[in-house]
Amino acid sequence: MFKLVTFRRFTAVLGGVVAAVLVAVVVFFVIYAWPAIRLNGWHFFTSNTWNLGNLYANPIERNGRMILPGAHYGILFLIAGTLLSTLIAVVLAVPIGAMAAVFLAECVPSQLRTAVSFFVELLAAIPSVVFGLWGYVVVIPFLGHHVYPWMTAHLGFLPFLSGAPGSGYGLLTAGLVLALMIVPLITATVRDALVSQYRGLRDAALALGATRFETLWTVQLPATRRVLVGSGILATGRALGETMAVLMISGNALNYLPRNIYSPISTMASFIVSQLDSALQDPTGLAVRSLGEVALALLLIAVVVNGAARLLLYYQDRTTGTTS
């Protein structure tokens, strides 16, 4: 009994520390970015211009704060780039990852499964900078020279697929490489869920005259729904926050909203890295504080996406019941 109580306290303390760290980070960023939040107002989210102003002129006063003449901070293009590249990545990766998991769990004989699974997990462990460099030297030339021109020529009648194919940097490339980075995450989780699933579920469907495929599609995969959504949330978080790889392949667009799926973009995370140096040149400090506001906005988006996914799951569970 004593041990259980101590253990409970221990976990409670640990849990408290984790929550406290999260709150502390948010509070810090709010305080730090506060001057920028006051100055930028809602324009921060609706304006499409990020301009540090004239770094060589003397700061002027606006709303009781010193800023550089011409300085303006709007990140609509960053929000668009971040959400769109993540959307492409997740929309591609969830079905592909789930299919790969089904393949591993059902089609690969159990002796081989360990080996194949090992490689999938290894793929998940590749540092993102490696993905980025590979994207830069291999994927971009290939897509830019062969795939995108073909797509504009043959699929150009579809919205967002027409227009200049660019040289390979941009939204779709970022989405594809991000998808590749998160597929193994989803595959590993869903495969574990399928392999450890109660066999009776599968047998029940087969005994009712379902085919192997129908069983997988209508019973086994839906039963892993919570795991699938959970891994999707983790994957979304990873894609939203991915920095280095995106920095190398996105084209680093500035103040530019994507016109089609080949357009160069920037994401919030990679923008913070790429802009930090020049922001530090701003003697008023407002540029760095605005980057702090970008970080805060990214955090907010991650929390909202996460919360929305969980809410969805909650409402579904109320009619379908919970399983592991």
């Binding site: 009776g200 047998d203 009712l208 209508t218």
Partner: protein
């Protein structure tokens, strides 16, 4: 109307009506041997189950009752490295003949599992699953009617009619097992295999299932595996006693229990082993 076609096919496959005195065979096996890998677990099982009767399979744990049951709807096919020799006929049709379709077979031969296994769906979707997957009762009204009828038959309707769209997992153990029975009944199988359907249930839930089996007997052929000898005695017309993968004897239940023909049967019934 694929469902009508399907029923017509079933009727065609049935043997011509037999004289009333001799009921038709719903299931008949001849010298069935079954192997998991190289390990043989069924030896020369020759057994028939007459139409619209309850056949009880009894025998000690591990003697092959579940395995035998699963040979009758080819569920053993889904276990890798298994092998069967011999002949199994369902309503006169050799179900292991080359070209025989196990999917169509399983629509005709329902199986209730030892451990209840409702899907993580709503009660309604559980019962309707077999209809959907087999393309039966495509119109919503037909499907709802089939769901209600099946739940009525399984004796669950009154308890769940107000919460058909709530999760099946919120039902009690006994209710879940009856839900699984309703789910199997929804596609109107002609033969019902029950693998210890009451093994995890309390006496009241158990007697419900027994009543249900007796009721269903008027329309279906039932083969039930049970560890509960009283249960076998109460509800079955014939009983087959298995021991170590062999069929020791099969006889009308009354006769087998009061006057067993073999020493092993008597030993088992009097609790000397098993």
């Amino acid at each position: 109307m694929p469902d009508l076609d399907f029923r017509a096919a079933v009727t065609r496959a049935r043997p011509a009506a037999q004289p009333a005195a001799e009921p038709a065979e719903a299931v008949a096996t001849r010298e069935v041997n079954f192997y998991y890998g190289s390990r043989q677990v069924l030896f020369d099982i020759t057994l028939t189950a007459p139409e619209r009767e309850i056949l009880a399979l009894i025998g000690p744990s591990g003697c092959g009752k579940s395995t035998f049951l699963r040979t009758l709807n080819r569920m053993n096919d889904t276990i890798p490295n298994t092998r069967l020799t011999g002949v199994v006929r369902v309503e006169g049709e050799d179900i292991y003949a080359p070209g025989a379709d196990p999917i169509a077979l399983r629509r005709r031969v329902g199986l209730i599992f030892q451990r209840s296994n409702p899907f993580p769906f709503s009660i309604r979707d559980n019962v309707a699953y077999g209809l959907k997957v087999n393309g039966l009762a495509k119109r919503k009204a037909d499907r709802d009617a089939a769901v209600e009828r099946s739940l009525q038959l399984a004796g669950l309707w009154d308890e769940v009619k107000d919460r058909l769209d709530t999760p099946a997992h919120a039902l009690s153990g006994g209710q879940q097992q009856r839900l699984c029975i309703a789910r199997a009944l929804a596609i109107e199988p002609r033969i019902l295999l029950m693998d210890e359907p009451a093994s995890a249930l309390d006496p009241i839930a158990t007697s419900r299932i027994e009543e249900l089996a007796l009721e269903l007997k008027t329309r279906y052929t039932i083969i039930i595996v049970t560890h509960n000898l009283q249960q076998a005695a109460r509800i079955s017309d014939r009983t087959a006693f298995f021991l170590s993968g062999r069929l020791v004897e099969t006889a009308p239940t009354q006769q087998l229990f009061t006057n067993p023909g073999r020493k092993e049967t008597e030993d088992y019934l009097t609790g000397r082993f098993g």
